[in-house]
């Protein structure tokens, strides 16, 4: 078909109004929900972030004031500490640091476990055990971590005592410079279950004769992984990585359960979600700031979500 013909066909095509109306009718409930619960709040926040707020009541237009105040708030970004890399660095850098550690760790760990379990007899049970972490409510994970790192009763400190490192025993979640890493470890445990499950099903989808063929071609385990398995599970990696990033961006319950609304002593492991919560629901209510922080979160998450949605 020539370009001209294609154009003609599209331009002159009779629109089937009957059909269009039917489609619209079916889309209406979904679109309504989407509008009320997704687009609406987003638009509301964008507009609201340019206004002054008295508790939950919108006041005068203040331009970028909410934005500049938020971005210079040391609870959001503490530039001095950030440059010296000492905690607290503010919720935004801490949240990003969390992401940088959490995503590669949980992805690699999930892949390694999936590979390990692939040919194992009790793989169903092992997989269920690892996946249990992901099904557990995150608040519970936070409480569990609190317990794990407890100086007296905690499993982790007990372990240190057993291996003869009594000197290291401490309340890990109260150590300003270490606490966030301890929490990241807990988050990784959660996300590993998820990435392992995705990788497991991706591995199960690989035709075993491909690996056998590679063996006959002379490939050892490492080459088989590098040349066959990895390229074939790569699409899953994109999903795992992005879902992990979004998960960390939205993280809240673990941190809240482990460190309360302040996010640990002196906010050392506060994250964006926690700042939104504090700004909106603790006295004094700073609704404008809450909106700004939520929008910052959204700015990171939206492109990621869009990438996932457009993958085929």
């Amino acid at each position: 078909m020539s370009i001209q013909e294609t154009l003609d066909a599209n331009v002159d095509a009779d629109v089937d109004w009957e059909k269009a109306r039917a489609i619209l009718v079916f889309l209406l409930p979904g679109l309504t929900l989407f509008g009320v619960f997704s687009v609406g709040p987003m638009a509301y926040s964008v507009v609201g972030s340019f206004f002054a707020w008295d508790a939950f009541e919108m006041g005068a237009f203040v331009g970028l004031q909410n934005w500049s105040e938020t971005l210079t708030d040391p609870l959001i970004i503490n530039w001095d500490n950030l440059l010296a890399f000492t905690f607290p660095m503010g919720a935004l850098p801490q949240n990003l640091l969390w992401m940088v550690l959490h995503v590669p760790l949980s992805t690699v760990l999930g892949l390694v476990l999936a590979l390990l379990f692939a040919d194992l007899r009790g793989k169903r049970i092992l997989r269920s055990l690892v996946f249990l972490g992901f099904t557990t409510p995150t608040v519970v994970i936070g409480l569990v971590l609190l317990f794990v790192y407890d100086p007296q009763a905690g499993v982790f400190n007990e372990l240190l005592r057993v291996v003869g490192m009594e000197g290291q025993v401490r309340n890990w979640l109260q150590e300003p410079q270490i606490a966030i890493y301890c929490l990241v470890a807990g988050g990784v445990w959660v996300q590993t279950g998820f990435s392992m499950l995705l990788y497991s099903s991706a591995l199960a989808g690989i035709d075993p004769s491909l690996l056998e063929s590679a063996r006959i071609d002379g490939a050892g385990p490492f080459r088989r992984f590098k040349d066959i398995i990895w390229p074939l599970v790569k699409p899953v990696t994109a999903v795992v990585v992005i879902m992990g990033m979004i998960w960390v961006l939205r993280i809240f319950a673990i941190v809240y359960a482990a460190g309360g609304p302040s996010g640990g002593p002196n906010h050392v492991y506060s994250v964006l979600g926690l700042e939104v919560f504090r700004a909106a629901f603790s006295i004094p209510v700073e609704y404008g700031k809450a909106m700004v922080v939520a929008l910052i979160e959204l700015m990171f998450a939206l492109p990621l979500a869009a990438y996932i949605a457009r993958m085929d």
Binding site: S209, A214, I216, A219, G220
Partner: protein, 360 residues
Amino acid sequence: MTHISLQGVTKYFEGGDIVANDSIDLEVEDGEFLVLLGPSGCGKTTALRLVAGLEHPSEGDIHFDDERVTDHSPSDRNVAMVFQNYALYPHMTVRENIEYPLKIRDVPPEERDERIEETTELLHIEDLLDKKPAELSGGQRQRTSLARAIVRKPAVFLLDEPLSNLDAKLRMEMRTELKRLQDELDVTTIYVTHNQEEAMSMGDRIAVMNQGTVRQVAEPEELYNRPRTTWVAQFIGSPPMNLIGGTKRNGTVELAEGTSVPVDASSDSGSDTDSAPVSLGVRPEDFSVHGDSTDADRAITGTVETVEPLGEFTIVNVDVDGTSVKAKVPTTGVERGDRVHLTFENHDAYLYDERGELLP
């Protein structure tokens, strides 16, 4: 060039519940094209995988020439295998697929290119090099898979029903092509199929398998002319050989209803007086159908049940005392319900004893 030898090779699965291969003894000569032929599920693929090293035998040993390879990994055996489903790497182009075994074995790039060119020309796929397997037709995939096997210059080819997914015309073409290739390359080849026509036309020798064991290994001609057991006799040929129960006595076989057929009793004249139950086997194509009475020595009488004209020839189903006997003749004037006589030559008759073994 490699001589392959399987000695008492047995393979169990599921802790012995499934016996896929049952003490197989098999010798494959240097440069030979050996076909493993048998019905579905008889253990052909398992035997091939044992030779490839993808499975480890539960019992027995496998030798390549004088070397015991039972414990060698597939990559140490220098075999190339074409899988039933081709097993092309979906994320690689045709070129990368063919190149992969060379890359793994550190063949220098210039030589790789040379060999790829050579091989793809041989298989007429030089135009497909930059395509992914998903973009190929079944025949093209199969040739790519063959190319990947050939390019290695392996000691042994193992082919698992490589033509089963092709249409009839392409299959015929590839059959000839494959056979020519193997002649040219002179590589020891084991070829698995359940298609006897394929086996007969391609194999230097055929190993007929059933229920995990090899029933007979012979050249196609011999397999057709001297099937050693009733099972093999009925497996080879289309339609299969007729088997008519009877009793052997005094150099004749007495079939039911008083028909008796003289057979050569030269070899075991000593036991002539004993009678023994036997099966008389005659291939459908060795029967002649006569409407009138005949004075031939060897004739079986029956009633025509159906006549199936198939163009090239006609199959006449004759009821002989409740046994359905098939005759395959070029043309015939007989019709349903006719009384007919089926005659055959002495050398076309086979006698099998009670256990189904061919009597000498």
